[in-house]
């Protein structure tokens, strides 16, 4: 018998599906870490993990982590430079994951204050958008 657990249920904010999350970045031996708290938009068009602004990358140097260069395709098929690192999603909304959290790809690019939560994370769950009631829900399909 399978059941689902509700991870998140929120109303739209300014007409958009948004939530808060907490992300952890660890250095290789796990001796140092930084925590990033971010308001993110649910973005089913983004195929990676979590996208946040580039300026937040400077904090990585404090713990000796160097993000790797790459490129990202933005809306309108516009290519841009981006930096990537491995991180852990510790909290989404009020839901906390067991430590160290869920492994995600963290993308640093641009200057938008709000981040994006992409399909690489969303694909672990069932996400339902309730347009008429202006709300959305994320459930975990595991028993």
């Amino acid at each position: 018998m399978s059941s689902t657990r509700t991870i998140l249920k929120e109303n739209y904010s300014d007409g958009r599906a948004m939530t808060n999350m907490r992300i952890l970045v660890l250095n290789r031996d796990g001796s140092r870490q930084i925590t990033i708290r971010k308001r993110v938009k649910i973005d089913t068009g983004f195929d990676s993990g979590v996208h946040i602004r580039e300026s937040e990358m400077s904090e990585l140097s404090i713990i000796g982590v160097k993000a790797t260069l790459g490129s990202v395709t933005l809306a309108g098929n516009i290519p841009a430079n981006a930096h990537y690192c491995l991180a852990y999603l510790q909290q989404i909304g009020e839901w906390e994951f067991p430590p160290p959290g869920m492994e995600i790809v963290l993308v640093f690019q641009g200057s938008n204050r709000e981040g994006l939560l992409g399909m690489e994370v969303l694909s672990h769950w069932i996400t339902t958008f309730d347009g008429p009631n202006r709300s959305f829900k994320i459930v975990c399909p595991r028993a």
């Binding site: 195929d47 790797t68 790459g70 990202v72 395709t73 933005l74 290519p79 981006a82 491995l86 992409g118």
Partner: protein, 170 residues
């Protein structure tokens, strides 16, 4: 004879008279010397001495003394890069370049490396700007897990095989 001296051609003495040009009796010794001077014949004196080719024992020797044929050097761990990529790389060594150019460089290098190493479409790869493959993985997370925290002697970047970038609105 000035010409033979300047070219250092070693010819057995008994043959010198046979192969040397015949003397025109109407020319003075100075005129003859001037005509035989390398400059007059437009001879490049920087060319390797002929002694390398013609030796006293009449054995023809080409190349190095051991007669070994050296294969040309070519990279086995990276592809040949297109001219445009090499030009951007050269610019990079002189200073920062525009974002557009850096993306173009990554695109060119990734394209050639993926083709050269016949990487599977949809996979994720970390590579150097000279096209050397550092790591390959089926997932973005797997790739970053392998490379994060490692120090590389060359700058690296990440790419998705068969796509125009590592992630985004694809």
């Amino acid at each position: 004879m000035a010409l033979w001296d300047s070219l250092n051609v070693l010819v057995p003495k008994d043959e010198q008279s046979r192969i040397a040009p015949s003397r025109d009796s109407s020319l003075s010794a100075d005129q003859e010397a001037a005509m035989l001077h390398p400059a007059h014949f437009n001879v490049d004196s920087t060319i390797e001495p002929a002694s390398r080719i013609i030796s006293l024992d009449r054995e023809l020797r080409v190349g190095n003394q051991l007669g070994k044929i050296e294969p040309p050097e070519f990279p086995v761990d990276r592809p040949w890069l297109p001219q445009q990529a090499l030009e951007i790389l050269k610019k990079l060594t002189k200073g920062p370049i525009a974002e557009k150019e850096l993306i173009r460089l990554m695109d060119l290098v990734a394209d050639r490396a993926i083709d050269h190493f016949q990487l599977k479409e949809g996979g994720f790869v970390a590579l150097t700007f000279l096209g050397r493959i550092v790591e390959v993985s089926d997932t973005r997370i797997g790739l970053l897990r392998e490379i994060q925290g490692h120090k590389f002697t060359e700058e690296i970047f990440v790419w998705r095989v068969g796509f125009r970038s590592f992630s985004g609105r694809l």
